[in-house]
Amino acid sequence: MPEDKTIRLKIKRQDQPDSKAYWEEFDLPHKPRANVISCLMDIQMNPVTRQEKTVTPVVWESNCLEEVCGSCTMIINGKVRQACTALIDALPQPIVLEPLTKFPIVRDLQVDRTRMFENLKKVKAWIHIDGTYNIGEGPVIPEKQRAKAYLLSECMTCGCCLEACPQFTKNNNFVGASTISQVRLFNMHPTGAMESEERLETIMGDGGIADCGNAQVCVEVCPKKIPLTESIAEIGRETTLQLLKNLFLK
């Protein structure tokens, strides 16, 4: 625990999507087990900067506060991560908070990650079932295969992998590691596999797997330790096979 009983936060703020960003600093009393979220909550209760200027409370996005919803992703001391698991006592000060840079800013630390959800539509990241009626049990699945799928299904669409990826930018349409990994997840499932060719065709197209530069940083920043590079390699193999199949069948 640091000797200093004050926490200093330096926060990059922006009032509107197209306005200029600016910095504000806040000094807060240290509290046990504090995290970045509890500090932002403290600012709401007393929105006064270090220079004793009363300002509007900082706007950010959060919900579950236990790193399963993906909301509170931001850049903390230069590293992309969730704010809820950013424990104050483990961070050097001042603690610098910035919004994600690869997504349009909404306000302050809040960004618009609609693109990620749109990409899930593109690759049909769902199981096409006959209906919700009671038509019996699901497929028998070996536990080993289930465990592999489970790792991938923990993806909370937080965007860490995309923020870190040098190929994913605001100006291109690369889908990025998280989407590619979801293609793998749904192609692995016995029912999902029935639409695997369609998914592969999509991911072979514009903005798909060919745009991956193999920088391998996605896997390093993933808070859920999803084997993203393994997914990319696997989908790479599958798309190559699909390509060959297309050649011979057409």
């Binding site: 087990r33 909550m41 409370p57 236990e66 919803c69 028998v140 299904s153 909370m156």
Partner: protein, 646 residues
């Protein structure tokens, strides 16, 4: 003329809202889905342990009827029985459906669904996907709804807030007033019915296991429009949570389902490393006091025992309000496989490795058994008529509710792994009735004068504008914290009328201070400040519902514990005696001598108590106060009897 397609507005994108949306889309309806945030981030992701379905894959003799009995008993018989029974009978089909949707449920060696133990039952009834079952179930439904969105049947309005229902001159709900949280625009949306699937009200208590969006505001808004609110005082305090500044993170009941043991050192303020304390000097109080159920007693029982050990016996770990939850006797491999996700959360937030050292935990506000009142229609044979438009309708015609925000399924205390079930069940079950409701309408929203919608919108525009102009000295976030502190101090595990009365006074003081709140942000883009004030206003009203209900209900039932009204069950009492007693009573007065000493008198007390209090609490908004009345509970299937978890 092409056939008119039913159109609905679903508020909330957790399990209940998504299940309802999926089901309605399957019946060709169009759905507008409204959520504070992308629906994939809804609070259902926090549910960890699993979902109950009596599929009996282990030859234990479990059945939906036993599941039904465990659930109504767990809820101290305050739930309507045909509904609970229908839910338990649907549970196996629901779990199989979720499996077909791709949920990565843990498997047996043969590749079938694996089940584990949970609290309040002696059977392995809980299907699970690692330790993130809620997240996995939510994602599966989110994916199905995304498919319908892709096909154009669903319009998502994420980053939108529900403000109120729009009622026509007959008081029928025809739409909703919505608030775009980015642009600040307030507008009216039209639909054949509005479905509230807005989750629980945990945030009224401030620090809880709930997510930030679990604020109880939508249902309170319905209450303020005249809807009945039911059983508000029944708030579940989960026995095992991790203390924190911003949130009390849940440590799932599955930790105990997989063998976790709760204990404290027998010696006060024992500061030894817990691993060096020998077995004989550990007090496994749940196991000692409940040899059959052990660590898997229902949550209300476990929370009371922990409270007693910490505050009455003063045996809290390190003299603090904490007890050990110990998994260190299990192998690391087993724990990783069965509980990985939740143990990671503990490690991330405390820095301790729960596979190596016992966790330190304490009870926290977790779930509301109560909620907005909803209706149902029995099919005459102890189940539900799934075609009835009455199912899940609030007391406002055309306004429905599903999931944690309704009140019907858990009585006075919810059993673990029944919440995911009730959320999905209500969402699916209400679908056919909603379609019927739309078809049966004599006039649709198209026939309602536009002035109805415009007036509702204008009224809210004025109201939000007035919040924006508030310039008093009070910080609304501070008031919210104080409101939570009032409830935590007075309306929690142990309830006393003097403290409840004090809480009501404090809440009305706070309501006066609310008038002097300051809107901390008056800008026009993505400004949460006016909404926060509106939410605080509703939460003050909700705090009154909860506290007033608790004050009026002079008994001890489930999570509502008033020591003064404890009926003092004899230690050697067997609940079956009560069934016998009721039978004997049909043939005349039952004599003291027919049962062991003291039992007949106890059973008479129990019977009298049920006559007065085995009723649903109803709060109606009247003159700025909750007016409390009571309604009968449907106990037509199983004879209520004293609970005992020995």
């Amino acid at each position: 003329m092409p056939k008119r397609k039913p159109q609905f507005i679903v508020i909330g994108g957790g399990l209940a809202g998504l299940a309802a949306t999926m089901k309605l889309c399957e019946d060709k309806a169009r759905v507008t889905l409204v959520s504070y945030q992308p629906v994939k981030r809804s609070h259902s992701v926090c549910a960890q342990g699993g979902i109950n379905a009596a599929i009996d894959t282990k030859g234990e003799g479990d059945s939906p009827e036993t599941h039904f009995y465990d659930t109504v008993k767990g809820g101290d018989f305050l739930a309507h029985q045909p509904l609970v029974r229908d839910m338990c009978h649907q549970a196996p089909a629901i779990v199989h459906l979720m499996d077909r949707l791709g949920v990565a449920f843990n498997r047996t060696p043969e590749g079938h669904l694996e089940f584990r133990r949970f609290g309040g039952t002696l059977f392995s009834r809980t299907a699970f996907a690692g330790a993130t079952t809620g997240q996995q179930l939510l994602y599966a439904l989110d994916e199905q709804v995304r498919r319908y969105e892709h096909d154009g049947q669903v319009q998502k309005l994420e980053w939108h807030e529900y403000l109120s229902a729009i009622l026509d001159s007959q008081g029928v709900c025809r739409g909703a007033v919505l608030h775009d949280l980015h642009t600040g625009e307030i507008f009216s949306a039209k639909g054949d019915a509005v479905i509230l699937a807005t989750g629980g009200p945990a945030q009224v208590y401030g620090k809880t296991t709930g997510s930030t969006v679990c604020n109880g505001v939508a249902t309170t808004a319905a209450y303020l429009q005249g809807a009945k609110y039911a059983n508000g005082e029944f708030i579940q305090v989960h026995p095992t949570a991790i203390p924190g500044q911003d949130k009390l993170r849940l440590m799932s009941e599955s930790a105990r389902g997989e063998g976790g043991r709760i204990w404290v050192p027998r010696k006060k303020n024992d500061d030894r490393d817990p691993l060096t304390i020998p077995e004989s000097e550990r007090y496994y109080f749940l196991e000692e006091n409940h040899p059959r159920f052990g660590n898997l007693v229902p949550r209300d029982v476990a929370s009371r025992e922990i409270h007693d050990v910490v505050y009455n016996k003063e045996l809290g770990v390190e003299g603090q309000p904490m007890v050990y939850l110990d998994l260190t006797h299990q192998s690391e491999e087993f724990l990783e496989h069965r509980l990985g996700g939740i143990l990671d959360i503990y490690a991330k937030f405390t820095g301790d490795n729960p596979k190596k050292v016992p966790m330190k935990i304490f009870p926290a506000v977790h779930y509301s058994m109560g909620g907005i009142w909803t209706d149902y229609e029995s099919n005459g044979s102890g189940l539900i008529d799934h075609q009835s438009p009455r199912n899940q309708m609030t007391s406002i015609q055309g306004l429905y509710a599903a999931g944690e925000c309704d009140y019907q399924f858990h009585g006075a205390n919810r059993l673990g792994a029944n919440s995911l079930l009730s959320c999905i069940y209500t969402g699916l079950m209400m679908g056919p009735g909603l379609i019927q409701y739309s078809r049966n309408l004599n006039s649709h929203f198209e026939d309602v004068p536009s002035s109805v919608f415009d007036q509702a919108r204008d009224q809210w525009q004025g109201r939000m504008q007035s919040f924006k102009q508030m310039k008093g000295p009070e910080n609304p976030y501070v008031l919210h914290q104080e409101l939570g502190d009032i409830l935590l101090a007075n309306v929690l595990i142990v309830r006393e009328n003097s403290k409840l009365e004090k809480a009501l006074t404090q809440i009305s003081d706070l309501e006066i201070r609310f008038k002097n709140v300051q809107c901390l942000d008056t800008t026009h883009w993505s400004n949460p400040a006016p909404s926060m004030i509106q939410q605080l206003f509703c939460q003050i009203q909700l705090a009154k519902i909860i506290t007033q209900g608790a004050l009026v209900r002079n008994e001890f039932r489930g999570a509502h514990y008033k020591p003064e009204y404890d009926l003092n069950q004899p230690k050697d009492f067997d609940p079956h005696e009560y069934v016998e007693y009721i039978e004997k009573k049909q043939y005349g007065e039952v004599l003291e001598s027919e049962f062991p000493s003291g039992h007949t008198a106890y059973m008479k007390r129990y019977e009298e108590c049920n006559e007065q209090w085995l009723k649903t609490t109803i709060a109606k908004h009247n003159n700025n106060q909750p007016e409390i009345s009571f309604e009968e509970v449907n106990t037509s299937l199983v004879q209520p009897r004293p609970r005992k978890y020995d």
